[in-house]
C-alpha cells in the first residue's frame, strides 16, 4: 500500500515536469523544470518498487538503479546546458544577469 503512495507521488512530479516542458519560455528554464521534477519523480517510482518487492533480487536491482539514475541525469543536464550555451542560444527575454559571458571569452 505504501508503495502505491510513492508511485503515485512520482507520477504527480512527472506530470508537473512535463507541464514545465510545455509552458516555460526558453531552453534553460525548460531544462530546470524538467530535470528536477522528472528525476525526483522517477526516483520516487523506483523507491516504491523497492518497497513493493522487499528484500529480494528485484528489490536490490531497483535500489541499485536509484543512484545510477540520479548521477546520470544530473551530469547529463549539466553537459546539456553547457552545450546549449556554447551552441549560441541566447538567454530569455526576462533575464537579468549573465556572468558567464565574460568568463568564456
Amino acid at each position: 500500500m505504501l508503495s502505491l503512495i510513492f508511485i503515485t507521488t512520482g507520477i504527480i512530479f512527472n506530470l508537473l515536469g512535463c507541464i514545465g516542458i510545455i509552458r516555460l519560455p526558453d531552453t534553460y528554464n525548460r531544462l530546470q523544470a524538467a530535470t528536477k521534477c522528472v528525476t525526483l519523480g522517477c526516483c520516487s517510482i523506483l523507491f516504491g518498487v523497492v518497497l513493493h518487492f522487499g528484500l529480494n533480487d528485484a528489490g536490490a536491482k531497483a535500489l541499485v538503479a536509484i543512484p545510477i539514475l540520479f548521477f546520470g541525469s544530473t551530469v547529463a543536464a549539466h553537459a546539456l546546458i553547457r552545450g546549449t550555451y556554447h551552441f549560441g542560444i541566447k538567454l530569455g527575454k526576462k533575464s537579468v544577469k549573465d556572468d558567464y559571458k565574460e568568463a568564456i571569452k
Binding site: I45, V49, L69
Partner: protein, 88 residues
Amino acid sequence: MTEYLDILLYIQIGLSSICLFRIIRGPTIPDRMVGIDIFGILVVGICAIISVQTEKSFILDIGIAWIILSFIGTLTLAKYLSGKKLNE
C-alpha cells in the same frame, strides 16, 4: 490494484508523448535534445511500473541498461552541441 496500476501506466505513457510533442515541435536543436533526455528518464518509470504489474524482475534490468544508454547518448549530443570532437 491492477486497474489502478493500469491507470498510472497510461498516464506515464501520455507524459512520454508530451515529450514527443516537444521533440517534434521544438524551435531549436537544444530543445529537441532536452526532450530526448527527459523521454529517456520517463521510459525507466514505465519499466518500473510494468515490473510491479507483472511481478517479473528482468524488466528492471532493461531499465538499468536504458538509464546508462540514455546517459551516454545525451553526453554525445552535448559534445556535438558544443562543437567539439568526440575524443576531447
